[in-house]
């Protein structure tokens, strides 16, 4: 599935929720079910510091696709992180760099991406794109 298709799928899923509580309960569930980052990557250099919560992000290249794993100390942030990974992980650097991530707005969670939120999520997306760019530059032309 392309990034856009995954984004659309998430938007459709969220349309089923009747109120904010269901939405947040779902995000909390996602947070709880996010596959754990390998403990050896939970290090200072993988840490993206927000004022409020912290995110650890690790990426690696696998057959031309970037794989992301991540963790956060706050469960709602972790749920948002899980959504981002579902959208961006296992895609080519170019796809990741071109991702618009409009689904966040469409599912009514834009406030989590506002700079005042300081939850590390904005910095995480930036880091994901930076990693993608690094792989793109490093990779030999296909």
């Amino acid at each position: 599935m392309s990034i856009q298709e995954i984004e659309n799928e998430i938007v459709e899923e969220f349309e089923m929720f009747e109120d904010w509580m269901q939405k947040y309960e779902y995000i909390i569930e996602l947070g709880k079910s996010l596959p754990l980052i390998d403990a050896k990557y939970k290090t200072e250099d993988k840490l993206i510091k927000g004022c409020q919560s912290q995110v650890w992000l690790h990426s690696e290249l696998n057959e031309g696709n970037v794989l992301f794993t991540a963790d956060s100390d706050a469960i709602i942030t972790k749920g948002m992180v899980a959504l981002m990974i579902r959208v961006l992980s296992n895609h080519t650097p170019d796809e990741i760099l071109n991702a618009k991530l409009e689904f966040v707005d469409k599912i009514g969670l834009t406030q989590h991406l506002s700079p005042t939120r300081s939850n590390g999520l904005v910095s995480m997306i930036k880091q994901m794109k930076m990693d993608a760019l690094a792989y793109k530059v490093k990779a030999p032309n296909p």
């Binding site: 904010w20 509580m21 409020q52 706050a74 942030t77």
Partner: protein, 419 residues
């Protein structure tokens, strides 16, 4: 002054006129995320009564001119207003002279001013500065900077687990090398009311001046700088129901006269030649540039408002809220209050076992409840308690027990969702 019409009965207990008081604060009637706003983030900034909003509005709509320099009527009128505001601040703190009141941007700038100017003149290599472990970063960083610059040493008063200063340790830290003591009156994170009078007495016994960070104190309690004998007392207007961007530095005349200017420029001088500048007398020596005029005027109106309600009334009412909320919170399983000093202002910090403060704050926000989460700009204090952060509810006199009830219900809901 556009005085409120609803609060001219200083003797009446707040509970008996809470609806009238709440009506003075227009923001309290708005909704957040579809729910009536419950504002429990007063420690970060307090809401503004209509009289303050009107006063600021009036400054720009009919009084705007620059102060201290025009011969024209508008300039003279607004200069009078601004200087009247200074006198209001002076009386509020019971300072001896109005020129001991310096208007600044806020607490942060006031402390930076003292650390820089006092430090420049009085601090040298090997000297010591005493602060406490519960200080806000604003009362740590400026001293850290001057220590680095001068090769001085920062000494830190430790606290007990309940969040009270260890006074015996403080006494041990006071020495011939100590050049200044800077401590908070009330902790923004713990709510602890520190024994500032005793702190000052002990320092003065060794001829050491003391700066008191009053940012969290002035909204809750009356302050008499002469009775305290504080050398410097600082606070922010916006936490005292006034505008943002204006604050106060009270300094004893003798210190302010000896200290060099902090910033220089327009307004701070008597005469300027390229060879030599003669600085203005107090307070203008420390007020470079055009100040936040409407802010100063608005702050005075905020002080009038608080005085009309009565600081004793406020302290009594807020204490009741504090006790009520504390008892309710203590019943929640896994919840731990951080800061259990005997003397506390209406600030409650807490953690819930296994939950991140950010998550709790996010769910409460969905319910229209504004609390602060995180380290509250007191990271060394968080390190002292070995926690990442807390959820903090801080009350003002316009909050109610019903709001506390709603908050407790919301908190239980958040915990259930997150567990």
């Amino acid at each position: 002054m556009a005085a409120s019409t609803t609060i001219n009965k200083a003797g009446t207990p707040i509970a008996d006129r809470i609806e009238n008081i709440r009506a003075d604060f227009p923001i309290l009637s708005r909704k957040v995320n579809g729910k009536p706003l419950i504002y429990f983030d007063n420690g970060a900034t307090a809401q503004k009564p209509q009289s303050v909003i009107d006063a600021v509005d009036k400054c720009y709509t009919s009084q705007n001119a620059n102060i201290h320099r025009g011969v024209h009527t508008l300039s003279q009128e607004i200069t009078v207003e601004y200087e009247k505001a200074r006198v209001t601040v002076q009386k509020h703190l019971n300072a001896r002279y109005s020129h001991e009141i310096i208007f600044t941007k806020g607490t942060t700038e006031s402390i930076n001013l003292v650390a820089t100017s006092f430090g420049k003149k009085f601090i040298s290599k090997g000297d010591e500065i005493i602060i406490s472990v519960m200080e806000h970063h604003s009362n740590i960083l400026p001293w850290q900077v001057i220590c680095e610059e001068k090769g001085a040493i920062l000494k830190v008063i430790p606290i007990s687990d309940s969040g009270e200063l260890l006074m015996d340790e403080y006494k041990k830290l006071l020495s011939d090398k100590t050049k200044i003591v800077a401590v908070t009156h009330i902790s923004n994170t713990l709510g602890t009311i520190n024994p500032v009078k005793e702190i000052i007495e002990l320092a003065h016994a060794k001829n050491i001046p003391v700066l008191i960070d009053g940012a969290q104190a002035v909204p809750h309690t009356s302050v008499d700088v002469q009775d305290l004998d504080a050398d410097f007392y600082v606070y922010s207007g916006h936490k005292l129901f006034g505008p943002t961007g204006v604050g106060v530095l009270y300094g004893k005349e003798k210190w302010l006269n000896e200290m060099p200017p902090y910033q220089v420029g327009g307004g701070t001088i008597k005469t300027v030649t390229f060879e030599k500048t003669v600085y203005a007398d107090l307070p203008l020596k420390f007020e470079a540039g055009t100040p936040h005029i409407a802010g100063g005027v608005g702050l005075a109106v905020a002080i009038d408002y608080v005085n009309e309600i009565g600081l004793d009334n406020i302290a009594a009412y807020e204490h009741e809220l504090l006790v009520y909320a504390t008892e309710a919170l203590q019943k929640i399983e896994g919840l731990k209050i951080i800061g259990t000093a005997t003397k506390k202002a209406s600030v409650i910090s807490f953690v819930v076992e296994g939950l991140h403060p950010f998550d709790i704050g996010t769910i409460l926000d969905q319910l229209g409840i504004a609390v602060r989460t995180g380290h509250h700009c007191t990271q060394p204090l968080m390190q002292r308690y070995e926690i990442k952060g807390t959820v903090r509810a801080s009350f003002a006199f316009y909050n109610t027990k019903q709001e506390v009830d709603e908050f407790i219900i919301g908190l239980q809901r958040a915990i259930k969702m997150l567990k």
